[in-house]
Symmetry: C2
Subunit: 332 residues, 2 copies
């Protein structure tokens, strides 16, 4: 996640609590699976999802430790999905390190991802208290939504006439479902009432859509130095991301020209440049920025509503707002 904001304090707090629990969970894998899993985790990101899980327990006045099984499960699921996504996309690098499948082989990548997938449910169900069962039940739904979103994203390449609505449903699944779950699982494990859990889930879902919209902008206009991907990589791969779909559905000549470019088997440097200008001319950049701002605002509004109803404390609300800004970023 690319951002200019400084890292909120909860990220460090969460790592201290969650990292040992992740290490313990991975230690339960047999040696053949432990090695690739540990290798992958050594390159893991900032731990945004576990941090949201911890915050959501603190938000309802619970000890942060209550959220740990949920934080571990969410991180295991996130990393299983990254390991498998790298196979699906044929990506050999992630965060400047060789990806699991590229280092250990496709077979090991498939099975190591599978192992983390099951381990997430195992971690939650080991002590099947009612809140943990609920957390496992909601995890199954969130992972189903994530997988559905990912499969739709894969299918969009070959699909003509993808609508903005379809594209947003895809992104809500692919990115929103897991962030929504992460933002509420701590409260769920603390036994909070449904309205609070749903409010927090709502916050996370909007953060997810805003983050994905910004990610889509970076995939077209992002600085390769900061994104770690080639400039305009989403265009090169002719991805039907939100800005592209908006431009393709615009009633402009840019839409037709862009559709014509997207129908080609490959785009050279100059065509990527042209495509970028066409997405902008078709209104894709501006509308996606507005969408990101809108969902960022909706995330903050969800937090405000929870504070207003005295469901969460103002101190934690502030941290949730900082996390939203940190995840979504400022300059897009």
């Amino acid at each position: 996640m690319t951002t200019a904001s400084s890292a909120p304090g909860v990220l460090g707090r969460a790592r201290e609590l969650v990292d040992p629990a992740i290490a313990e969970a991975l230690a339960g894998l047999c040696g053949e699976l432990n090695e690739p899993a540990v290798y992958h985790f050594q390159g893991r990101g900032k731990g945004t999802r576990p941090a949201l899980a911890i915050l959501s327990a603190e938000a309802v006045g619970a000890a942060p430790a209550v959220a740990v099984p949920g934080a571990v499960a969410i991180e295991l699921i996130h990393d299983f999905s990254l390991i498998h996504d790298d196979i699906i996309d044929g990506d050999t690098e992630r965060r400047h390190r060789t990806t699991v499948w590229a280092k250990f082989g496709t077979g090991v990548g498939v099975i190591a991802g599978d192992a983390l997938h099951t381990l997430a449910f195992d971690v939650l169900l080991r002590e099947p208290t009612p809140p943990r069962v609920k957390a496992a039940q909601h995890l199954a739904r969130a992972v189903s939504a994530m997988i559905a979103g990912q499969s739709q994203d894969m299918a969009f390449g070959a699909t003509d006439g993808v609508s903005l609505e379809q594209c947003l449903i895809m992104e809500q699944g692919k990115t929103g479902a897991l962030l929504s779950y992460a933002s509420s699982v701590g409260a769920m494990l603390a036994g909070a009432d449904d309205a609070t859990v749903e409010g927090l889930a709502d916050y996370g879902a909007h953060v997810g859509v805003a983050f994905q919209a910004v990610d889509d902008l970076l995939g077209i206009w992002g600085d390769p130095e900061r994104t770690g991907k080639p400039a305009g990589s989403d265009l090169r791969e002719r991805k039907k991301s939100v800005p592209v779909v908006i431009a393709l559905n615009s009633d402009t000549s840019a839409a037709d020209e862009l559709a014509e470019l997207y129908a080609r088997p490959e785009l050279d440097e100059g065509e990527v440049h042209t495509a970028r200008a066409l997405v902008e001319a078709g209104g894709g950049r501006e509308a996606t920025r507005a969408l990101a701002h809108n969902h960022h605002n909706l995330a903050v509004a969800a937090v405000d509503a929870l504070v207003g109803n005295q469901e969460i404390s103002e101190a934690v609300a502030d941290e949730l707002r900082s996390m939203a800004e940190f995840i979504v970023g400022r300059d897009f």
Copy 2:
């Protein structure tokens, strides 16, 4: 599963109950995932695992319908593992049909398997009654064991000095864990006491080891017409299956010659033939046959003990014995 025995009646009974429930579960997948999943299920096997699940409910006097969520979950897990195994092994055919990854692409194979994996937990946790939660908890453990076994099997190729004990632990995981779960999940869902559930799980674990031992024999001496694989395919791939490991660990000159052959990058027709003779000379065939008989007998003994303690009825015990014979086969 290759056998000469006629199919026990429970297979048909189980299909009637379980197939509509599987179809319903798959209908909940988005279109992009439903298509490859349905394609895979159209070529599915005899439904041994769902049948065992149904029998295990009937064994404790419950209505067979009680077992259905467990039967569906076990079949979804079995099929997710087949879809991923075909990617891992690069197999383009299964049951004389193109495999999912070969037909739809590796990416779709990975994600369709993932979707079935999650769906299994989702199906069980949709109504989180205590027996279903217990079934989900045990499913996570069984799937972890299956994945660990599969990853060990993958690693054995590059490992020198695999012991028979390691090999049996691998096979207990790879094949035994899921058959053990299938043989007890119906009783678990019916709320049977732990001793009965464990007795049935024990039966299934022994059936699993016996079945795998026979499968290992067929991988070396099986008739290609019946196995659907080339003669001696396990030797060609230099798999460290039970007969091979026994021969490699035998204190014979055959052991050294076999080790020398297994160290080669590739085996030609004549070398496969020689390897086959060496496994036999090293005692691998006879000892594996004895192992299969022994575990088949242990499976039957587990059933007898359950009948003796009046935990299950004689009528269902007979069906469990028939299923063991059907799964393990007679002529090996």
